[in-house]
Symmetry: C2
Amino acid sequence: MKGPAFVKKDKYNVAVVGASGAVGQEMVKILEERDFPVEKLSLFGSERSEGKSAKFRNQKVTIQKLAIEPTSFDGFDLVLSSAGAFVSKQFIPVAVERGAVVIDNTSAFRLDPAVPLVIPEINPEDIQKHKGIIANPNCTAAIMLVAVAPLHRKNRIKRIICATYQSASGAGARAMQELENQTRDYLEGKPLRKEVFPHQIAFNLFSHDSPVSESGYNTEELKVIQESKKILHDDQIRIGITCVRVPVMRAHSAAIYLEFESKMTPREARKILEDAPGVKVVDEPQKGHFPMPIEASGQDQVLVGRIRDDGSTENGLALFVSGDQLRKGAALNAIQIAERLINIQR
Amino acid sequence: MKGPAFVKKDKYNVAVVGASGAVGQEMVKILEERDFPVEKLSLFGSERSEGKSAKFRNQKVTIQKLAIEPTSFDGFDLVLSSAGAFVSKQFIPVAVERGAVVIDNTSAFRLDPAVPLVIPEINPEDIQKHKGIIANPNCTAAIMLVAVAPLHRKNRIKRIICATYQSASGAGARAMQELENQTRDYLEGKPLRKEVFPHQIAFNLFSHDSPVSESGYNTEELKVIQESKKILHDDQIRIGITCVRVPVMRAHSAAIYLEFESKMTPREARKILEDAPGVKVVDEPQKGHFPMPIEASGQDQVLVGRIRDDGSTENGLALFVSGDQLRKGAALNAIQIAERLINIQR
């Protein structure tokens, strides 16, 4: 796969693949919100979404069926993909071959040593190393690391322990609908239908619904562990994580425990986080006001609070974060990568 | 406060204080379910619940207003209290003075060195040291420790890290109703009413709604830390905890990380837990079947699963637990204490 030299222009032909999905819809919305220099926007989806449409700058854009043929991708400068790892593996090499740079939101290429895996607040320098593909991280990794990386940079973190509270949106638009439908049926005393999640999600929670490996860790947990090391450029950091799905619509939260090489006081950490890009400190103990999914939803920033000593170990610090899974966890991060690629600084 | 020598009888006069609350109702139900040798059951509540009634063995028992006068407690052998710490502090010394043994579900006396704090599966020997009061632990501590103590006994645990997923029931019957009402209003697009919780609970989660101390820890977290040390008879164990309220009805869950003095393999831990009283191992990685609140609800046992190495530290092990907050977290544990007190072995 040869990498194109990305040619700077005034405006770009942009494609969104997986345009009818929860992340794809958010991508279209954010391209408009942030006034991304789009010459022409094309939307692709599966057979199921062919003919549906999305609104972009007051124009109706029809979703085309993704055909994996070289000519399908002619003329695109930038492809934003959120189509599932299997589809990504098929179409992305073809799109790159035809000259597009692809920012891929799936796990397909994230751990490929030739593919940068980027959170612009953390490792923007990796963007320019791309050979046609830039990978967007797992949503939980992105949200956790926006808060963790600035601390790690000041005082090396040796170990992270994390327990997540992940929203339905992480499993897509149909999963969000399932949470709503099941909850409605539950309240009306009707039998609950399970189509997306393997277990009841209404008024329940369960270990993340990704396959569990021999090690006892599920794929989601392994993604966070492996991707965090790559993004932080730190193979030595040790990560323990439990990923849990909760009946929340679209923001992920996490309880995080950090062990530093030397003492990091809550006051120091708060100061670092207040100055960190992409972070909003929400930490008002007197008011009992800390990060919550409903306040993180629709926000670009990751909310961080409950910043306190973890007295259970030397040099320990505890945090709680909430971040919009569809924005910083997916669509926003992808478009922030695109902005850096074309040299927009915000 | 003088302690009565508890006189064994065939049947006992039992009072439940706080009988209209979520825990009080569960206590009445469990006394009947387990065929506790009750001679006469009396129910007490606040002014608000005076005149309401509960069914016990097909009889309607009317709730009387609790009057804190010595004569109110004449003739009771056993008082099960779940009336709030403030009320407990007032009435319990009076009841003990009149000869009752009180099993108190509030935090009022839990840390009093003269009062045993008991989980019957863990420290039943402490029951007989009572001087009239036996304290029932915090619900999260009870659920966590049922799973943790049997492992600790085999191989000392130096450190526990815990992140909780706590149900509405922990804040009482009105909180469970609030979760239901808010969810209904949310789905109908109506404004949400907050009467019990400080924040929206429907499709949301938030840091536990107890006051936050100078240390940054809330009261719930401090209770778990302090009570765990007392129940395990281990002042050295270090505990880091984050307590979070989730939109679940009546079972608490927790992601738990344990650091042992020496290696504890997942296989060993599973074997110990399979033999442990009060524990049910639910750990089927192939099926993605692990502890969930909807399966823990109404159960006496604490469900334990996701038993795996915590590769982020030496001698680390991770678990996930779910337990019925109203049963093992409160009412059931109290009645199990009462059973041990009168020498019923199950």
